[in-house]
């Protein structure tokens, strides 16, 4: 089973400097947070998805579709019940509430998708190198990228552990909420212990390969800004400026 988010494809997105991709991701976060209007958020999602399609990494979204759909549904339910709208449809539910719920759902989903596109098209080493070039010291940058790396390790370990405990009679599908939560203890403890143990070995392996030998570290990977980086950044900045302009001009 492939556990890592990064997809090794040959695309213009993969060739971009990681710093460019970090900026584009942050810009999409900023725009998403600025607006709550459904139509503008739809435009933003269109742009983000187009960007992802350029990188040929959209198929990775399949892996988080459940999360995306859950967020959308939860948001719609929550806001439909609580939003102070005027056009009543049924009980406390209003048309405005539903639309607002959809918009907020998209707002969060689009941010997750933007993050996913970044992680799917950027090697972990590029992320830490990008962060270092942005002035962040190597150790925290490495720690961040290792944390990203830890996620798939945890997923694959929990998969094995779930099978092991099911073989012993663990039945996760019955019982009330409280009972079900209790049933996760036999999964949680072995996962935690395995991850701590593996992290400890990783730490030893890193030191044994000279991690922290000196502050001056070379990098085998090379990143630098090319014409395409300036082009992508220019487009992203333009979109941001337009968005800010609309925000203040029309108070959207």
């Amino acid at each position: 089973m492939e556990m890592f988010l990064y997809m090794d494809k040959d695309s213009i997105l993969h060739k971009l400097d990681p710093r460019t991709k970090i900026f584009i991701m942050l810009i999409s976060f900023a725009i998403a947070l600025m607006f709550s209007s459904l139509s503008l958020l739809l435009i933003l999602s269109f742009l983000v998805i187009l960007y992802g399609a350029l990188g040929k990494v959209l198929s990775n979204l399949k892996r988080i579709r459940v999360i995306l759909i859950m967020i959308a549904i939860m948001s719609v339910i929550l806001w439909a019940l609580t939003y102070p709208g005027t056009t009543r449809l049924w009980g406390p539910v209003t048309k405005e509430g539903i639309i607002y719920g959809i918009a907020i759902g998209i707002k969060f989903d689009v941010m997750i998708i933007a993050g996913m596109i970044f992680l799917s098209s950027t090697k972990i080493e590029e992320i830490s190198l990008g962060l270092v070039k942005l002035g962040i010291p190597y150790r925290p940058a490495f720690a961040f990228s290792t944390a990203v790396r830890l996620v798939p390790m945890i997923v694959s370990t929990s998969y094995i552990i779930t099978q092991a405990q099911k073989s012993r009679g663990l039945d996760l599908d019955t019982g009330n909420i409280l009972q079900r939560i209790k049933k996760y203890i036999p999964l949680l403890i072995p996962v935690l212990i395995s991850v701590i143990r593996q992290a400890n070995i990783l730490a030893m392996a890193l030191e044994s390969k000279g991690f922290g030998y000196s502050d001056k570290r070379t990098s085998y990977l090379e990143i630098k800004f090319e014409v395409r980086d300036y082009a992508f950044l220019a487009v992203a900045l333009l979109i941001l400026i337009v968005a800010v302009y609309f925000k203040f001009k029309y108070r959207l």
């Binding site: 099911k166 073989s167 009679g169 999964l187 072995p190 390969k209 000196s214």
Partner: protein, 569 residues
């Protein structure tokens, strides 16, 4: 004499971990290593081998703290006063757990990590990567993510990533313990090749006795001390000593020490030497006794009960499209003890998971106790079939041994009285009565493995599947585990065991299925399968040396004891 004459000098080294109360992890170690030597360190679990290795590169006392006394000098550098990252230039350390050591996106970057830390210019790193890939035989895989490599490839990559730091000494801590036979061969080949180049000093901690023959020197450790240090051909003839401290002695010298009065120095070591010695000494096999063994085996074959597990044309395709099983037909009768042999990726575990319904066939069917698993689930089949996973740490979670074993019965709604009875019964079966109140995490690996088996037994299954129950255990613990499995089988349990360890199959299993690429390549009584040594070798499986010796003599014996009992002096 200057310090730098020797590669490694260890003087009166003693270390005790913080949490260790009763004794020191290593005690009064004195050791000198010459440049270019190839040393194998052997010893039972808890002998202090890994502790010693970590003292050499400074992980102890810098990373793991404790009570440290004595001195370690590596290439003239005092380890205690030097950070681990600086020592990494002199001595590289490879760990047993290859999964946890690799962290990069692809093979090239994994190898580049060390040189990057040392500030090696980019062009030189390129050159280092090229050279290392060649040494560890991973050329052509430079862009592959490590997660997609096989176990053996991963461990070779781990070795490569350490070699890239260009150390003068390479120390490997049980590099082959978690590997299948092909993976092991790959690692040993690298060791051999590195040794031939004479540039590198090589220290390997290893359980595989036979591979130790290639070393210049073997060091035996027990309870934190070095108890023997000498040439392989001397040390490996110490059959009784090795047996006493819980190491697997070589089978050939063991056999000859029991059937002849040969001096230690004259004992043969390999089966080739054995064949010659057998003839020289004029030994003979007692035909009558051999026939008696065969007759008893035929009787056992007839005593099995009904077919309880049946796989019909089973095909299994994983969601990513990999076909893991391809037309498997297998019948298992009540009371059998069958071993599934084969390399990682051959489909053993996938097949075994079909027997307790963790997986359902993509095509074909699996019938367990008359139930088609398609219409069933793990919970229901679990009443008949118990499955002990490979790593006990993937299932242990409770505060006490009692609660750990009680988990299964409790999940199945047993009354507390019934639970108590079952826990007692399971603990008795694994020979661990009196451990009820112990913390399972504080037990040894062998004990944890037995707790894991007990927790399966508590569900009172008729069939027990064991996935590599002896991996990571030393010889003494392995034997103890297998004696337990044998008892379970004799008390009526059907046993299905996945393993890589050939001597365990030879000495304990009744039947064996050898798998490759999702197919069963060989199947039958262990003796019949092990007789076909050439086919096994084609499948990269090497039978135990006593089997090879007896095959050369026209008979097939599965253990030293068996052959001794049939030898006419």
């Amino acid at each position: 004499m200057t310090l730098s004459d020797k590669e490694i000098i260890v003087k009166d080294l003693t270390f005790r971990y913080k949490e260790q109360k009763d004794r020191n992890a290593i005690e009064g170690i004195n050791l000198e290593v010459e440049k270019g030597e190839f040393i194998v360190i052997m010893g039972p679990s808890g002998a202090g081998k890994s502790t010693l290795a970590q003292c050499l590169n400074g992980l102890i006392p810098h990373f793991t703290k404790g009570h440290y006394s004595g001195e370690v000098v590596v290439r003239g550098i005092k380890v205690k006063e030097t950070p681990v990252s600086k020592m990494a230039k002199e001595i590289g350390l490879v760990f047993q757990d290859f999964e946890a050591q690799l962290f990069s996106t692809n093979t090239k970057l994994e190898i580049a990590f060390g040189p990057e830390n040392f500030g090696v210019p980019r062009e030189e790193i390129e050159e280092i990567i090229r050279r290392v890939l060649k040494i560890v035989n991973l050329e052509g895989l430079e862009d592959r993510p490590p997660s997609t490599l096989s176990g053996g490839q991963k461990q070779r990559l781990a070795i490569g990533s350490v070699l890239a730091c260009m150390p003068s000494i390479l120390c490997m801590d049980e590099p082959t313990t978690d590997l299948d036979p092909i993976g092991k061969i790959g690692v040993f080949n690298i060791a051999k090749q590195l040794h031939e180049e004479k540039e590198l000093t090589l220290i390997i901690i290893e359980h595989e006795t036979e591979e130790a023959l290639n070393a210049d020197r073997i060091i035996l450790m027990e309870k934190g001390k070095i108890i023997k240090d000498g040439k392989p051909r001397e040390v490996l003839k110490e059959v009784d000593l090795m047996e006493k401290i819980g190491l697997m002695p070589l089978q050939i010298p063991k056999y000859f020490s029991q059937v002849s009065n040969l001096e230690k120095a004259d004992l043969p070591l390999t089966y080739e030497e054995g064949v010659q010695k057998f003839k020289e000494l004029g030994l003979q096999i007692d035909e009558g006794k051999y026939q008696e063994i065969l007759r008893r085996e035929d009787e056992r074959e007839k005593s099995y009960g009904d077919v309880i597990i049946q796989a019909k044309d089973v095909e299994y395709v994983y969601s990513n499209g990999t076909k893991a099983l391809d037309g498997i037909n297998l019948e298992i009768r009540e009371g059998e003890f069958i071993a599934l042999l084969g390399h990682n990726g051959s489909g053993k575990t996938t097949l075994a998971k079909h027997f307790n319904c963790l997986l359902k066939p993509t095509r074909g069917s699996v019938i367990v106790y008359g139930k088609d698993t398609k219409n069933s689930n793990v919970y229901e089949i679990g009443n008949y079939v118990g499955y002990a996973f490979q790593n006990p740490d993937h299932q242990i979670f409770a505060d006490t041994v009692y609660d750990e074993i009680a988990f299964g019965p409790r999940m199945r709604g047993c009354t507390e009285e019934e639970v108590k009875e079952r826990v007692a019964e399971a603990l008795k079966a694994v020979d661990m009565e009196g451990f009820e109140k112990e913390d399972p995490f504080a037990l040894s690996k062998g004990e944890r493995q037995r707790i894991a088996v007990a927790s399966i037994l508590a569900a009172r299954p008729k069939v027990i599947i064991l996935d590599e129950p002896t991996t990571g255990l030393d010889y003494k613990e392995q034997k103890r585990m297998m004696e337990l499995v044998k008892r379970l089988n004799e008390s009526g349990h059907t046993i299905i065991m996945i393993t890589h360890t050939m001597w365990i199959v030879a000495e304990y299993a009744h039947k064996v299925a050898v798998m490759r690429d999702g197919k069963i390549e060989m199947y039958g009584k262990v003796r019949d399968v092990f007789k076909e040594e050439e086919r096994l070798l084609e499948l990269s499986l090497k039978p135990p040396s006593i089997v090879s010796l007896s095959n050369r003599l026209g008979k097939t014996f599965l253990s030293v004891e068996e052959m001794v009992s049939c030898t006419k002096r």
